[in-house]
């Protein structure tokens, strides 16, 4: 996982995605504590308000929850929600650019299928 923030995507979104990826990779489990706004701010040298926005985005999607005075934690259903969300974006984000490039350089669909069968665990 890259530790650097990209320039072309809102920072709060990148913070949210970073937490999400940690959850689906199994680095953060249900009821685990998520780093605080201040920890994110310090680590990435960003304004704490920006970090808070990323975290609040996940709170609104019920991926993390707040315990007053204690911190932020991963919800029971977090992983399921993230998987659903990422799957629904998968075509737009990954398949479409792949197919466009394949078209452009005239890679045939059969070839794509061969490659897909060759790699991946699923």
């Amino acid at each position: 996982m890259s530790d650097r923030l990209k320039d072309d995507q809102p920072i709060f979104q990148q913070i949210a995605e970073l937490i999400e990826t940690n959850i689906i990779d199994g680095d953060l489990h249900a009821n685990d504590k998520v780093p605080s706004t201040n920890e994110f701010a310090k680590h990435f040298q960003i304004n704490p308000a920006t970090a808070a926005k990323g975290i609040n985005l996940l709170v609104s999607q019920e991926i993390i929850y707040k315990k007053r005075g204690v911190g932020m934690f991963v919800t029971e259903q977090a992983k399921e929600i993230i998987l659903q969300k990422r799957k629904s974006h998968f075509y737009e984000q990954y398949m479409r650019p792949l197919l466009e490039e394949a078209d452009r350089i005239q890679v045939h669909k059969d070839q794509l299928i061969t490659w897909i069968k060759k790699g991946g665990k699923v």
Binding site: D7, D8, N38, K42, F44, Q45, N47, A49, T50
Partner: protein, 289 residues
């Protein structure tokens, strides 16, 4: 803290350094004040800090005037890029004077920072290198804990490593003691992620005052076939355009969302956005030739 500025004007001889500044700043946040050389940033900050009076208009902090008013100036720490300290004093003397001036002064923190930046307390100001001089300004600014802390290019001569240390310290200090911090700088790339709000001065006026995240939403780079882009950007606010190999890139400002399958849409970083916005006038001149 509540800063209210209305119709502020400052004239030096015949030159209008500030034309008509209207601003409202409040709450605890880190604000970036940007502008090209001569845009009026320093003049504005000096008036805000009570260094001198405006020619016209009004500036108030918590409904009180600032100039010649210790009740206000004790709450404002303004660090400039130079001329902050009397040259004959030692570092220690400057720290002692500052501790008497600022009610929230944190002496143990100041000593800790002295250590971090490796400054010798006994050294005379006039013998400090540029980098050390800047470090002292940063130490005063952060240790003052002033409800309004203003840094105007505080790191002339400071190396990249010490600048990064400054950003770490600024964030840490802000988190421990939230306050209104205004940071003016030309090194936008380095600090843009620290800003919650951005102000751009241009030719003595406020060109823009936005939340960082709004600024991000308010513009777009679109890329596509030249004819299609040309047609799309007609009557829109274009701040930059360029064509190569039949592909045209245009930067639009004041746009909400661009939902057009034909175009690739992306975002500028703050520094690029700043450059395009403040260069606009020059582009008009170039184009009219």
């Amino acid at each position: 803290m509540n800063i209210e500025v209305s119709k502020l004007k400052k004239v030096y001889g015949k030159k209008e350094a500030l034309k008509d500044i209207n601003l409202h700043l409040s709450g605890n946040k880190i604000i970036g004040l940007l502008g090209k050389n001569g845009a009026g940033k320093t003049t504005f900050m000096r008036i805000l800090a009570g260094h001198f009076r405006q020619s016209k208009g009004d500036i108030q902090i918590n409904e009180q005037p600032v100039f010649n008013n210790y009740e206000q100036t004790k709450d404002i720490c303004f660090i400039m890029e130079s001329n902050n300290f009397y040259e004959k004093f030692s570092v220690q003397e400057i720290l002692t004077i500052s501790s008497k001036f600022y009610p929230n002064w944190d002496e143990s923190y100041a000593n800790k920072l002295l250590d971090i930046f490796q400054l010798n307390a006994k050294q005379k100001i006039k013998t400090l290198s540029k980098g050390m001089y800047s470090a002292l300004g940063i130490i005063i600014g952060l240790s003052s804990n002033a409800p309004i802390t203003i840094f105007d290019e505080p790191y002339i001569g400071l190396d990249a490593s010490n600048r990064s240390t400054f950003y770490d310290l600024l964030l840490q200090s802000y988190q421990q003691n939230p306050r209104l911090i205004i940071l003016s700088t030309h090194l936008i790339d380095e600090v843009s992620k620290l800003f919650e709000e951005v102000i751009i001065f241009h030719e003595g006026s406020v060109m823009l005052h936005e939340l960082s995240e709004e600024l991000e939403k308010k513009h777009a780079i679109i890329k596509g076939r030249k004819e299609e882009i040309d047609q799309y950007i007609k009557n829109r606010h274009v701040i930059h355009e360029s064509t190569i190999l039949g592909q045209k890139t245009a930067v639009l400002f004041d746009e909400e969302k661009i939902d057009d399958e034909r175009f690739e849409v992306s975002k500028l970083n703050l520094q690029e956005l700043f450059v395009y916005l403040t260069k606009e006038r020059m582009r008009e001149i170039v184009h009219s030739n």
